[in-house]
């Protein structure tokens, strides 16, 4: 039996614009994934703890405030500290090309910029975690 992909959708920082995060959460759920949505104003520590507790394969970070360069590297660092490097981190929001390239260099699996289709995000996540992995 295949185990559904588990995804944590998180809103870090002070930004309250959650339209995108909520749409993504619903789209992933409609695609058969198990989605945990953290709600607003999560610190990197809270996000990584939730990822650990919920045993997710993917963390999706939604950031529209321009604070991604401060927040995302901290999430990656905490994942390394907790030996959770196998958790894929994807970022969505207003992230300029140069910043997106830099974040990917640091270990982010993908950055989805405005206009990215829901389908492309679903496909990416399925491919990234290797859909069809059997439950232990």
């Amino acid at each position: 039996m295949t185990r559904p992909i588990r995804v944590l959708v998180a809103k870090p920082g002070l930004d309250g614009h959650d339209r995108g995060a909520k749409i993504i959460a619903r789209a992933l759920r409609d695609a058969g994934m198990e989605v945990i949505y953290t709600g607003l104003r999560q610190t990197p520590e809270m996000i990584v703890n939730a990822a650990l507790q919920e045993d997710v394969q993917v963390i999706g970070l939604s950031i529209l405030s321009g604070a991604h360069n401060a927040i995302v590297p901290r999430v990656l660092e905490l994942l390394r500290e907790k030996k959770m490097e196998d958790v894929k981190v994807v970022v969505g929001g207003i992230v300029p090309d140069e910043d997106a390239a830099e974040l990917k260099k640091q270990g982010v699996a993908a950055v989805f910029q405005p206009g990215a289709s829901l389908d492309s995000i679903v496909q990416f996540i399925r491919a990234a975690v290797g859909e069809g992995a059997t439950a232990p």
């Binding site: 002070l14 949505y37 405030s65 300029p96 405005p114 829901l118």
Partner: protein
């Protein structure tokens, strides 16, 4: 071709008939439903001569990085012919945190200007005579604090409060519904809003203590009807609280102002503004017995839809914005912000913001649309759409009344869920290609990079350094005394404005003042509604 059999709807999903004619107006009573421009129920606008008498205020929302940088931009915009100022604050300021708070990491000066104390506010308005320019401030949860700072700057400039003209957004209900920049729970937040309305009614007769906002509700993905209905129902909630405070309706209603989105669907937007004026006029007259004509007139600011701007082919955004701005003008807006072409990427650069302002100037001075009030009034289609918009909005208002008002509805997650469902439905339609977004899901092309505004990364360190110096320089015993007095006032039922004024004059910081209020009111956490 599939076109002939396709169901046509507005962007919000309201069905549109193939053609409208005189029979669609049979249910309309012109005196009851439309009226004359400048006459009840103001469907056609609040002034008889509309833009002939006075153009709308061209008010570009701006602010970024340090108070010094923002002050420079304001001087630039005024030199370019802008007629009012509109302050954008950064996220720490909106959330009541000082620039040096740990939650402010990475956010200082990013989405607006950083203001942590009266000293910063003095810098924002340096060389700008507050008696001569109208200033709008987009601030909500800590609005009373920032307004106190503004009033204190006016005092320093020797400008009497009675002469001040402008607006604080101060609409906390739409924060719980849509934008989510809240600090305290709904009821103490409403008490603070009511404090400002009461204080304004007594001391600042030309200042709008609130701008009841649908803009953010729409940006969160609502339909046009939801934007209209939730905004007006929020307005009703503020009225009820002010009446419960002991004010009479005509004492404060003339200074309630509104703020709507100007989205893509041209006629739907114009119908929305017309229906808004009509519903508000009837509500004020019949539900509240307002007598002063100014209480009946819904005045509104409009901003073109940020969420309609595309990252792809950004120059197309100039065209979108021009059409949206035209809808706002044909809908009778009192002031207008036009978005800049680069705002899907970042805060606007100077070149982009100038084009946005020029767009308004072309509409005002070249297009000829200012020559007649409500020039589309009487159109079969528009009048029918106005009636349908009004009917659907009143239906929502009735449902929220039955729930016990907007706070009860928010606590039940009702408007939040309605908006989330609408935004998901819209996104699905875009994904399916049923809604075309030029350059995104049709007519795609390779983009040329555009020049973007870089926010000075040293803004945060500069702001933190200034704060450290301020904390050394000021009379800290006086700061403590004013904060203690504020806390006691917050625990009781007195109006908090005089205490906030004392605290900001003593250079207590925004974070310190917000903490004092948090210690009494608590903080709000929402249930996330997917």
């Amino acid at each position: 071709m599939k076109t002939a059999e396709r169901q046509f709807t507005t962007i919000s999903g309201v069905p549109i008939e193939p053609c409208y004619g005189p029979e669609d107006l049979s249910a309309i009573n012109p005196a009851r439903d439309i009226g004359e421009p400048g006459g009840f129920p103001y469907t056609r606008g609040i002034h008889r001569d509309m833009y002939r008498g006075r153009l709308w205020t061209m008010r570009q929302f701006s602010g970024y990085a340090t108070p010094e940088e923002t002050n420079r931009r304001y001087h630039y915009l005024l030199e370019q012919g802008q007629t009012g100022l509109s302050v954008a604050f950064d996220l720490p300021t909106l959330m009541g945190y000082d620039a040096d708070h740990s939650m402010s990491l990475g956010e200082v000066g990013k989405c607006g200007v950083s203001v942590s104390s009266l000293a910063d506010m003095e810098t924002v308005f340096r060389g700008i005579p507050l008696g001569d320019v109208t200033v709008s401030m987009t601030i909500n949860s800590p609005a009373a604090v920032l307004w106190a700072m503004y009033l204190a700057v006016a005092e320093q400039q020797g400008v009497e409060w009675a002469r001040l003209s402008g607006t604080i957004q101060n609409d906390i209900l739409k924060e719980y519904i849509a934008q989510k920049e809240y600090i305290f729970p709904p009821r103490p937040s409403m008490r603070l809003v009511t404090d400002t309305i009461e204080f304004g009614a007594r001391h600042t007769p030309r200042f709008n203590p609130i701008s009841i906002s649908g803009y953010h509700i729409r940006e969160a993905g609502s339909t046009a009807v939801q934007e209209l209905a939730f905004t007006l129902r929020d307005g009703i909630e503020y009225v009820d609280w002010a009446l419960a405070r002991g004010l009479s309706i005509d004492q404060f209603a003339p200074r309630l102002s509104f703020f709507f989105n100007a989205h893509n669907d041209f006629f739907e937007e114009i119908a929305k503004y017309r229906a808004a004026r009509k519903i508000w006029a009837y509500t004020m007259r019949d539900r509240y017995g307002a007598r002063n004509e100014r209480s009946l007139k819904l005045r509104f600011h409009a901003q073109t839809a940020g969420c309609s701007l595309t990252w792809q082919q950004p120059y197309n955004n100039v065209v979108r914005t021009a059409l949206q701005a035209l809808a706002a003008v044909l809908g009778g807006a009192q002031s207008l912000h036009t978005n800049s072409l680069d705002e899907a990427y970042a805060l606007p650069g100077e070149h982009a913001v100038t084009i946005a302002l020029r767009t308004q100037q072309v509409l005002a001075y070249e297009s000829g649309v200012t020559g007649h009030p409500d020039p589309l009034g009487g159109s079969y289609f528009l009048e029918a759409l106005t009636m349908e918009t009004e009917r659907a909005a009143n239906e929502y208002i009735r449902r929220i009344d039955e729930m016990g008002g907007m706070i009860a509805a928010i606590e039940a997650g009702f408007p939040q869920r309605e908006i989330a469902a609408a935004s998901y439905r819209y996104q699905r339609e875009v994904e399916a290609g049923e809604r075309v977004i030029v350059g995104v899901n049709r007519f795609e092309a390779k983009d040329e990079p555009i020049e973007l505004l870089e926010i000075d990364e040293t803004a945060a360190t500069q702001q933190c350094q200034k704060l450290a110096e301020l904390r050394k320089r000021r009379d800290n015993a006086k700061v403590r005394a004013t904060l203690d007095a504020l806390r006691r006032a917050a625990e009781g039922t007195e109006n908090t404005m005089p205490y906030l004024l004392d605290a900001v004059r003593a250079y207590a910081t925004l974070g310190e003042i917000s903490d004092a209020l948090r210690s009494v009111f608590g903080s709000y956490q929402e249930q996330a509604h997917l």
